[in-house]
């Protein structure tokens, strides 16, 4: 596998990382995601890492980079499903990923993206009926 598939769901992009990624694959994902965000004008990115057995400094940095680049492109990123053992290890390693939003699972991650997207609309749209959906 030389690419991780990116799924589009309306305004959001969804990525499920299921393989033990080598570093180049992670960098490819980072490129692909930033390109897709600007292509489709995505408002949010959800990255599901519940199958990942480790997150080391490289993957951690890649996730942080994705989140910052997405922010520059006006999209929110949420990382969901990090396993307890992975989280404990990542903290011990010294990475707390302060700039990254997290959620327990895909549902609550989606909920978060929807809320922030709606909030963004309310501020962004002049007087319209923006609170629907």
């Amino acid at each position: 596998m030389d690419r991780i598939p990116i799924l589009r769901m309306g305004n959001f992009l969804l990525v499920t990382i299921q393989v033990d990624m080598h570093d180049r694959l992670a960098l490819t994902l980072q490129d692909d995601l930033t390109n897709r965000i600007s292509e489709v004008g995505a408002r949010g990115v959800l990255i599901d890492i519940s199958s990942l057995e480790i997150v080391d400094s490289f993957i951690g940095r890649t996730l942080a980079n994705i989140a910052s680049m997405a922010r520059v492109l006006d999209a929110q990123t949420v990382v969901v499903g990090m396993q307890p053992a992975v989280a404990i290890t990542l903290v011990e390693l010294g990475m707390s990923l302060p700039g990254i939003r997290t959620a327990l699972n895909v549902e609550s991650g989606m909920e978060y993206l929807q809320e922030t997207a709606e909030a963004g609309m309310e501020i962004g749209v002049y007087g319209g009926d923006s609170t629907e959906d």
Binding site: I88, V91, T102, L104
Partner: protein, 292 residues
């Protein structure tokens, strides 16, 4: 190799009798075991020695032929540990087999010094190894019991409770040491996943003091929970602990803290889109939580 082995096989009954005479006082003294049981055990041990092929080497107890004997001694030493024998008493039980075996050898090779010497040396080393093995497995068995008990105790003393749908609490009681905090950390994070809880309350009202290491563990737990997508609220920090935390220079700035568990619970409900409202003056409903 050993001619003695053949001899033992031939005169099992008399060896057992001699052995029993030697150990009777030794073991019965404390009344920990009755005579019939002792005789049965000794008989089993002797059979396990005598039942191997006659040409089995006595100098290497790691041979497959000695496996049964070793297993038997392992079981025996575990059983005796439960009965209250000390490891040295159990070793003594094995060592006391030397006397009847030496006697047997002396009877047979009494006039041949060289043979007697080599048989006795061989037997002596053999029994020593068995005794050592018994002690080792006693210690191993006890270590296992201790570490299992420790683990059970740790788990018992860190119960994670579900307060509400999506809210768990960990009321900590007693002194926290580094290894207990580690267990706490893991079981809380596990519970967060299992119960799908977005908020976890760590209540340390019952914790008298906190040292740097423990405070750091708590902080790491809170950070790990955040990485997983859950928020921790720390409640019940005693004034002394607050002082310690500040003195130690531990940064709790990013951690939500509340004075009491109930305050933390109220906040947790708010965070999950609910609120606590006072329904009436009746104290039964004063703490009822209602969905907005």
């Amino acid at each position: 190799m050993s001619n003695l082995l053949k001899l033992i096989q031939e005169s099992r009954a008399s060896v057992l009798q001699n052995w029993m005479e030697g150990i009777r006082d030794l073991s019965r003294r404390r009344g920990l075991i009755d005579e019939r049981e002792l005789e049965a055990q000794s008989g089993d041990v002797l059979s396990a020695i005598a039942d191997v092929p006659a040409d089995t080497n006595l100098s290497n107890i790691d041979l497959p032929a000695w496996q049964t004997l070793k297993e038997l001694l392992g079981t025996l030493s575990a059983a005796r540990a439960v009965q209250g024998f000390s490891p040295s008493e159990t070793a003594l039980f094995v060592l006391s087999l030397k006397q009847p075996l030496f006697e047997l050898a002396r009877k047979h090779w009494g006039n041949k010094a060289n043979e007697l010497f080599s048989e006795i040396t061989l037997t002596n080393d053999f029994i020593d190894k068995l005794a050592l093995y018994t002690t080792d497995s006693y210690i191993h068995g006890r270590d296992q019991v201790i570490s299992r008990q420790q683990e059970e105790m740790l788990e018992l003393s860190t119960p994670v409770v579900t307060l509400w749908d999506g809210i768990v609490a960990l009321p900590l009681i007693g002194t926290l040491d580094s290894s207990r905090t580690q267990v706490v950390m893991e079981s809380l994070l596990q519970a967060i996943v299992q119960t799908n809880s977005r908020v976890a309350i760590i209540d340390i009202t019952g914790v008298p003091t906190v040292d740097t290491l423990v405070a750091q563990h708590l902080l790491k737990t809170i950070t790990a929970a955040r990485l997983m997508g859950a928020e921790c609220i720390l409640s019940g920090i005693r004034p002394q602990i607050a002082q310690t935390i500040v003195h130690l220079g531990i940064n709790l700035e990013d951690v939500t803290t509340k004075a009491k568990l109930s305050d933390a619970f109220r906040l947790a409900l708010e965070r999950s889109g609910r609120a606590v409202v006072r329904v009436s003056k009746a104290n039964t409903s004063a703490h009822a939580a209602k969905e907005l």
